[in-house]
Amino acid sequence: MKVLVAVKRVADANVKVRAKADGTDVDLNNVKMAINPFCEIAVEEAVKLKEAGIATEVIAVSIGNKSCQEQIRTALALGADRGIQVETDGEVESLAVAKLLKAVVEKESPDLVILGKQSIDSDNNQTGQMLGALTGMPQGTFASELVLEDGKAKVTREIDGGLQTIILNMPAIVTTDLRLNEPRYASLPNIMKAKKKPLDVLTPAELGVDIAPRLTILKVEPPAERQAGIKVESVAELVDKLKNEAKVIS
């Protein structure tokens, strides 16, 4: 069984990204980049399936300029077998990403595609679902547990009130939530080995996909800042302020 995993290069989760002063875009100069945390969970899940003898091959795919090969190498160091980069310039919207992934799916015919539920830069939470619509595959989004049995995927999903379990025909799409697993760290020998694993580069033109954007960013700006308030000295003073000043409790 073949598993395809999508990974995205994003600003590291610990970086507080800001808007550029001229409001045209966010400022990513000299910002540390990393694999999107939810994509890392996706890679881990695929590698675990391989270690369990269920998956035979794990392919990591990323869409972006040459620098995203770094994140593909990270996925290879974590245990993916080979990589595919779809070379693009700059930001590609979710719909175009889904179309590119659909073309890769048609080329590779995976039984399972695992993606992060959202990337922590654009916060869109769209790509997996869109890929589902385009390929006609069922989706198990926001997964906290994945069990493959009898040729089907049983997915437990994080929903607003708790958990939901569904069964999907395969091939299927799964998007990861944070409790699905705890990603491992890549060991140094595996990082070295990853450098020798195959990595193919494709272009949107080769895949026959139009990636023209549908959205124009007119402006980016910082959110309204909150002002720090006061420090209270005691619980009694806090309760007094909440009752008599803020009037939020009675």
Binding site: L95, D160, R214, K219
Partner: protein, 309 residues
Amino acid sequence: MSTLVIAEHDNSSLKAATLNTVAAAAAIGGDIDILVAGSDCSAAAEQAAQVAGVNKVLVADNAVYANQLAENMSLLIAEVAADYSHILAPATTSGKNIMPRVAALLDVGQISDIISVESDDTFKRPIYAGNVIATVQSSDSKKVITVRGTAYDAVAAEGGSATIEAISAVHDAGISSFVGEEVAVSDRPELTAADIIISGGRGMQDGENFKMLESIADKLGAAVGASRAAVDAGFVPNDMQVGQTGKIVAPDLYIAVGISGAIQHLAGMKDSKVIVAINKDEDAPIFQVSDYGLVADLFNALPELDAML
């Protein structure tokens, strides 16, 4: 111009998130219709017809929509969408699950989690955990949108008199099935609907200590939340998570206990009206956004607070 709002409901009642989404639809302008898709969902449809400002309620009542599986729902919505310029759903786990599938079927982009309507094609939405607000313009023929509920005051649940119209379309993709749900049953309000929330972080040390928060919550009529750190540490389930990848809340009062204030957590609660932080680290970033900060050991402060309420 006309807008279709996808109702959030459990067949027997309409969820409040629908009312915030109708408010966003009203900001766009034009007629507003609501789609209620479910099974034995006439009660939810009748409630939808009462919502202020709604023109028509479309009801797709069939077993295939019982659990609102994305595969079936998206086929239905994409068909009904033919008559509308805008299709809106709440940015809940249900809306997030279904709407991108609808957008892709219609070959349009989706504008996720909008917080402001600038015009019929231009919207504001937070990116980078809310550290940046982007104004985006869509060139697509139809706009598929999810709405952040905390950005809009709910419209009145009553006072409307929409007509109810049944839709016979049955879409069964036949590729997914519902097994079951484990929904936490609680007498406390839902996080996204609560006026007061008390949340715990890594400083709570274990899940058992959340009982201290629960006791205070019961006195205040509050919901109990958690930071991602507390969820990651296994103290509490993920449906309690407030933050960038959890729930976005904006109550009248938010009490953060033992939460340092990582940007991912602030993204989920910084629009609260009054923020209280209780933390023993006086340099914790949470104090930069709190209206009232108490530097104290939570294991002393919480019992004291409980006793005073």
